[in-house]
Symmetry: none
Subunit: 207 residues, 4 copies
DNA sequence: TACTAAGCGAGACGGTACGTCGCGTCTTCTT
DNA sequence: AAGAAGACGCGACGTACCGTCTCGCTTAGTA
């Protein structure tokens, strides 16, 4: 794994042996990711999210970006990872509350940018299994949290014993995704959307 | 409406007055769309789906493409329209049967290509409301058919009276979309997937 | 031979069959070469003679330059060819007059630029026999003219019968070259330099 | 004078006061110059004679080079100085013998590299009078030796009293230069070339 | 023995130019 | 007119060096 994907992985990998030469400027990483957000925020086309623009905005040489990520897509995957923030942790009191929390976490205001970045990635992901794998390594842990909530619900009897976990997961994340990335159905702005979706799904999933 | 969007629209627009000069080569339209499919099929990156490559593959000058579509995205929208084929018509016997049919129609083998083309469009769609509008003019009629089925179900009492049609629509199309475009959840290959999804949705939607 | 080297060669090569597609803009060729001269004239370093600068100065895209010449050096060779202008033609009355004319032709005011351009080429020529060959195809015809004058002088008895033509040629062109390119010996500004050099050489070469 | 130009100069400059800190590694100087020679010898383009390549070849950090020379050109000038070796000393028996010796010294096998290095310098020398001055400080002493031989020849009556020393010098060094740097006239390989050139020049210069 | 000061290999840094590719437009000749 | 061909201005791509700047380490002279 050449590029970072996540900082924690890299730091834990090496055996305390300090790399020779001048160390990377950690601030540059932040500046670059921030520049990606700024550019996406300033209303310009996702196609216009060029490495050159990012470098200029971040006040950084192009090489400094290419030293960290092998290409534009890898950078964007890491931008996504940053946007997602830390893994959400379900409280565990009730399946409904946990799911509402998880679904809401997929739909906060940062997700406007998330949709744009993902859109930028899709053309390349459609082809490259490698990129898809990297992207999944960011997305899948979050999906796994939801799976855990569903499985626990089955154990506690809150959910039907024969529930198709994978299908239910898709019914929760698919609509969110369609809104974030495809900008379908303006009800996306509805504050109660998360609850409505979870309730609709649970109505068919409850024991 | 500059570009075609659908062939039928254009042909009905002109008033029998024969245009002067050499008529357009109708075969070229087919060749161009076919070239788009061929390129997507030949395993190359979606980014590599350039107009130049399409023109070369179709044995056509670039101007011949730009004479028909104002830009790359418009061409791809029409490619999608072609892939989708004619509007599906629900039989009307039962809501379940109709929904299974509609969902299945979104997931046949052509849809692998559909995901790729859509992926190509997303970066530009994220910015351009114009392109989003055009794309919707292709997608929305299909979604409207589904809405009709749901509304009829409410009328006949097959579905709950207080059903949120828009949300239900999203629960049907979102998972499909997530599979087609994002290639999430390998159960996409399951032949029974359409039935399973519809049943899960209906379980919470039934009266 | 991909690039032009000389316009005349190219035009005589094809068999009256017009190339398909939009023809090259002949003005662009002139603009590009002119931009090279302008940049060299405006006192900037030869290293700064970048293709990007030439394109900007000429109001032309980089691709338009690379369509005509495979690289920077090839462009400069053609710039040299242009600077040299048409082959000088010796009058033939006396060897001395002809040589003075030829030597003077190598040292006019355009030659300041000539030195700069040649200097730009040398690093690459030192390695690439191909580039050296191209450059020689521009320079050699002129050297051949001088050889002709010398050989005729031997025939007419004006010059010693056992004269080493090649060595004499080198004694005439070497000093000029050292001045033009290396900027040795400030006597280069002397108006009588051509006569002085020719006389000095002839003093040892006369019959 | 920031850089070395010649080692001897620098060493004589300091007043026995030992500089504090770790002394420079004298071997590095040799390794660097040697790396320049090796790279030029290994048949690669003169353009490829990058500082980075030199540093890598010499097993040295880039900073170690820049600590000794202010830029690439200064390094190359010193490489030339090294190649030239110590000032040749004319025997003084006859003008012809001395000139043959001096001309031969400009044309030994090391001079193949000399031509390449000089070629690398020319683009920058064409602009920078400073670099030209530095280069002359290496070349000029050698030219001065030749001038001395010519002047002595005039005094002894071996050469014409009204001989133009500067022009004669140019007639001797120009051809050599044209061969070394421009690789003109393959007779450069002729072992008798030095004698032939000197004789030709003297034939017109003799009293 | 410890401190100070510089040299050293390594390599990151902000830049600039390279040569390539695709965009959407244009200009030619042919159909 | 439409068509195939392909040149045009533009701008981003990813690479290579430039000359500068840290890093941690080594190697002296001085305290």
């Amino acid at each position: 794994m050449e590029h970072m994907t996540t900082v924690s992985v890299q730091e834990s990998a090496d055996q305390d042996r300090k790399a020779p030469g001048r160390p990377r400027n950690a601030q540059a990483d932040l500046d670059i990711i921030q520049a990606v957000f700024d550019l996406l925020g300033s209303g310009l086309s996702a196609t216009a999210l060029s490495i050159e623009a990012v470098a200029a905005k971040a006040g950084v040489g192009k090489a400094t970006i290419y030293r960290r990520w092998p290409n534009k897509e890898a950078l964007l995957v890491d931008a996504i990872a940053t946007m997602k923030g830390p893994l959400p942790k379900p409280v565990g009191e009730s399946v409904r509350d946990d799911l509402v929390m998880l679904v809401s976490a997929m739909r906060n205001k940062r997700m406007e940018r998330y949709g744009k970045v993902t859109a930028c990635l899709l053309p390349e992901m459609a082809k490259s299994p490698e990129l898809r794998r990297i992207h999944q390594s960011v997305v899948e842990p979050r999906r796994e949290v939801t799976r855990g909530v569903l499985r626990r619900g089955i154990e506690t009897g809150e959910l039907r014993a024969d529930l198709d976990v994978e299908l239910t997961l898709l019914m929760l994340s698919g609509p969110i995704f369609a809104q974030n990335v495809m900008q379908w159905s303006p009800l996306a702005t509805d504050e109660n959307f998360a609850e409505a979706l979870v309730d609709a799904v649970l109505r068919g999933a409850a024991a």
